[in-house]
Symmetry: C2
Subunit: 239 residues, 2 copies
């Protein structure tokens, strides 16, 4: 059976302007792969409500689950929670349990729990909170959409807290052979190998190092014995 | 007048599996911003022909230009050129000028110009070549889609060669103020500032450093005087 599919939606002008280099996509990709969930598409969109709403609706229909990062803080450009509510036709308002978490946090640190901070307790109706052990303000899950923070340390903590709740598939096993020849030289036999092992994924990733070309050939699949077999054949071909 | 819009399409299983961290998106974002072109959306899709074709068609209709990276090498998983041809209903075949470039390169290096390498001369009808000073195999432009390599050094060289051919808008000017207070404290006044300067983009990007919270507030716009004014007001607010 095919593994469950997922999509990621990165929200934020700062990524698209080149100001910030996104780190969350690469992190999530690795975690999902380990968990046997296939990340099938990623989209990066700006802080534009109509775009976020329409993208969430599309991805939620197409994939088993959707993970978002960004736009859930206290400032005027944090519009993700409202957009998710709109995408599913839900109301949104400050929720008691989320407010209590934040209230306790700000009381303890002696900071004012002002209007802006209360915005972070706005949660769409019917959502489940995602714990944030780093900075308290929670993420949430609505339908099949997991809404998380953009700050990498917070995003990673949230991913850690949801991961055990996700239904994974068979872990994808991966083996890599580094071949010190140009891709053009290995392409023919490699295509035949890929055709023979069509139940596996055979990828070729070229590199250039000290002026020499080579390729990392990666064989991936859920059946360890098949991956081993294909790797042995690959090694024979390019010994 | 609004600046021209663009989208990027990153093609490759290795990005989605978490094996490789994409570097091209961040690079292109910075170059387009300098050139006054607004990167409005990014998508990352696997080496699946139907997905590539449908995504290229959608992005090409929605945005002024589309930039792709990945999938134009000699191996069996390099399917981008064929997908782009299909997306626009064009034929594709080995083209004489592209073949001549590659033939000369392999003759010079004493390597065989075999069938796999000839695949890199397959160019959709009506396309214009994009020069590749790093490893010769060209990219191409078809309609409003710029098709480039995934290897970062080659991608960057290709971007450098197309950039002068693109019609840019007004360069976007950007100023940043680092404010050593939590976002929750500055959010109220910041929202008012953003409303006053609604012709500019006012973004707040939180950070955490040595246990203290702060935010980089970035004001962006094409009118330098307005950006200066808004920055002066921002500095006053949080002096």
């Amino acid at each position: 059976m095919a593994n469950p599919t997922a999509a990621m939606l990165v929200i934020g002008d700062e990524i698209l302007s080149g100001r910030t280099r996104d780190a969350n996509m690469h992190y999530l990709a690795g975690e999902l792969t380990k968990h046997g969930i296939s990340l099938a598409e990623v989209r990066i969109v700006p802080d534009v409500a109509s775009k976020i709403v329409e993208t969430v609706q599309g991805l939620s229909r197409e994939y088993g689950s959707v993970f978002t990062s960004g736009g859930i803080g206290p400032t005027h450009d944090d519009i993700t929670a409202d957009c998710i509510a709109e995408a599913f036709g839900k109301t949104i308002g400050v929720r008691d349990d989320a407010r209590a978490l934040l209230q306790a946090h700000y009381d303890k640190s002696g900071q004012e729990f002002n209007e802006a901070r209360q915005r972070m307790a706005r949660i769409p109706e019917g959502a489940t909170l995602i714990e944030n052990p780093v900075s308290v303000a929670p993420g949430f899950v609505l339908e099949n959409v997991y809404v998380m923070a953009g700050v990498p340390s917070v995003f990673q903590a949230m991913v850690a807290s949801i991961m055990p709740t996700l239904t994974g598939g068979d872990p994808v096993l991966s083996q890599t052979l580094r071949i010190e020849r140009g891709e053009g030289e290995i392409a023919g036999p490699l295509a035949e190998l890929a055709a023979t092992y069509s139940d596996l994924s055979v990828g070729s990733y070229p590199y250039q190092q000290n002026g020499a070309y080579g390729a990392n050939v990666v064989i991936r699949g859920t059946d360890g014995q098949r991956v081993d077999e294909a790797m042995a054949r690959l090694a024979e071909l390019f010994a």
